[in-house]
């Protein structure tokens, strides 16, 4: 009986997701532009709900700080609307960071696991927890629930691996004719 329930639950859950994704191609296209940080700064509980709200005309295109200016431009292009600067009420773009748990202090309460939108935190009840850095989106949602404040956001350092060539600084001079 429980087995059947689990199975049904999975089928239902899967169908619900599938339906949502395939259901509205516009939502999917908006969602493809959003950075998937799943931080909620836009005022919606994740990127997909924000995408849905934009598609339904219930939200503006400038509410996602992690997407930055480039994100707003891309949304404006997709939707054929005027660009507008990011709404400061939603927050400002920050350098990409990852959460790091101070494992000496963590009491293993699992509250951060429950907050993490992408299951990037590992650990069992009453054991120290740790963040899988490669999966962490830097949403900061785990910070607030931690009862002992042992999670910090560390900006991702520049290394020869992720370093980017800079825009040439040479000034192009216009000849006076």
């Amino acid at each position: 009986m429980i087995g059947l329930a689990v199975l049904l639950g999975m089928v239902l859950g899967y169908a619900a997701l599938k339906f949502k994704v395939d259901g509205d191609p516009l939502v999917a296209r908006i969602d493809a532009i959003l950075p998937q940080t799943q931080c909620g700064q836009c005022g919606f509980p994740g990127c997909k709900p924000y995408a849905t709200a934009i598609a339904n005309g219930e939200a503006d295109i400038n509410q996602c700080p992690p997407g930055g200016d480039a994100g707003v431009h891309a949304l404006a292009d997709l939707l054929g609307v005027e660009y507008k600067p990011l709404n400061a009420e939603n927050g400002v773009p920050k350098p990409k960071s990852v959460a790091v748990i101070d494992e000496n202090i963590c009491i293993g309460c699992t509250l951060c696991i429950q907050a993490c939108p992408v299951d990037a935190i590992l650990g069992a009840a009453k054991h120290m927890h740790t963040v899988i850095a490669s999966e962490c989106t830097g949403c900061e949602l785990c910070l607030a629930p931690c009862p002992v404040d042992c999670i910090a956001m560390l900006p991702i350092a520049e290394s020869p691996d992720n370093w980017k060539w800079k825009y040439p600084v040479f000034e192009i001079k216009v000849v006076n004719s």
Binding site: A5, L8, C109, Q114, A125, A144, E158, W165, I172
Partner: protein, 564 residues
Amino acid sequence: MLANLFKSSKLSSFNGGVHPPQHKLESTRAPISVLTIKNAQQVFVLPLRQHVGKVSKLLVNVGDHVLKGQLLANADGQMSAAVHAPTSGTIVSVQDQLIPHPSGLPDIAITLQADGEDRWVEHHAMDYRSVSKREVLERLREGGVVGLGGATFPSHVKLREEAKHPVDTLILNGAECEPFITCDDLLMRERAEEIVRGIEIMQYLLNTKECIIGIEDNKPEAAQAMRDAASKSQILIAVVVVPTVYPSGGARQLIKILTGKEAPSGKRSTDIGIQCFNVATAYTVHRLVNHGEPVISRIVTVTGKVARPGNYDVPLGLAVGELVALAGGAVENTEYIMGGPMMGFTLPSNHVPVVKAMNCIIVGKPEIFPEPPPAMPCIRCARCADACPVSLQPQELYWFAKSDNFEKARDYKLFDCIECGCCTYVCPSNIPLVQYYRYAKSEIIALDKAKQAADIARERNEFRLHRIEREKQERAQKHAQKAAGAKTESAKLEAAPADAATKAEEAKKAALAAAIERAKVQKAEIAPKNTEEVSPQIQADIAAIEARRAEAGLAEVAPQDENN
């Protein structure tokens, strides 16, 4: 005799190319000088990333005594290469250090202090025909063999026989087309037979039908030496002299010249049955397989404003400044270029070590290459397009890169650009074109990576929502079952478990409170750096996030009990 088949009249040519001043004579007057390690205090710095692919895995600890040729860090997976000790000595540190990289950023490296004995680890030759090819490839992987032309791509990956793409032509690149660089020239002149031994191993591994060495016609001695050595080989090796034009040493360009074939945009040369290696790589394959010696040294051209320009067989890890001092020293406070004037970059410091990719050091960058006059607007003269060996439209690429129009740049085949610098070289407006392409390429690569990460995050988020939904339904199911079962029980019995449940809940809360208390005490003792100095700004941010979460209904997503 096969060489006769490749008369220069039969050679193809690639589009464009340029003829910059050669400056090769300065460094070819003296034979290669082999630097030996006599100084017992000599320090070597060995970055763990000297190749394309994953950082190698450290095998030693600080304080370990190691022998010359000993494996210090092993290849991590297939796309990686090993690092070995260039001499015997002690590991004194493993930490981030400045490396020869255009970023000027430090990276993880091993520091080895020589003991002055230069004592080899036990090593053996391998009879490669009597073992399986897999074993030979494994030896190449463990021996740290990478492309020494500058690309440092792990060679064992390129020497795998692949059923999908059989390789029937093996090309050895001895073109060395870039000005100032002469390390391959001298290597071919002096160690031709050893190069040929290496080519034989490569030919055996890939089972190719033909084998061609391409050498520019400005290196007649090298071509003659290679011809003599090739004629003594049991396999057929053709030595083909190609006209001197930059960049004939680009893999695609050399393949085009020698075979007339071109891999389509975005495809590799193996898709058309051709594999290409640098002659110096063949040399290291020979040393490793036939002598058991891993890659612990390389030939470096030291030229420019230096007292004794020439080629030096240098142990990897030696500081560039010390190498230049051994070459007679340089004027003070000058800058060094690693590589040639067309594709090289300015070294961040003269303390960086010699690495596998380092084919040339040009001393005196500001003296030899004064800053170009300021750039002017593009006049659309199309000289850059005429010079581009890949037949791109550099002026369009420049426009798109400059205006961050990355999608367009990609459409115009930005990633086919080999950054040869021909366009920059001919541009009458002195526009640093290649710098714009490098900028655009790294932006696009970063955007692609971010997109991949976003796709993974979306998937994981959907999976999580799905899981929460499922758990909710399961719980509802359980409750419904319990409720149905409970109806048959008496009211008295019903009260008891409920009571127990509240008690358990209270106990749990108490335990949590105690744990928090303990952590607080511990925290006070440890005094962590991250939470003590939370600025009011961050505190406000956290509060704001929390408020938003509550508003967005996120708080209820986090259930309070951990056991369900």
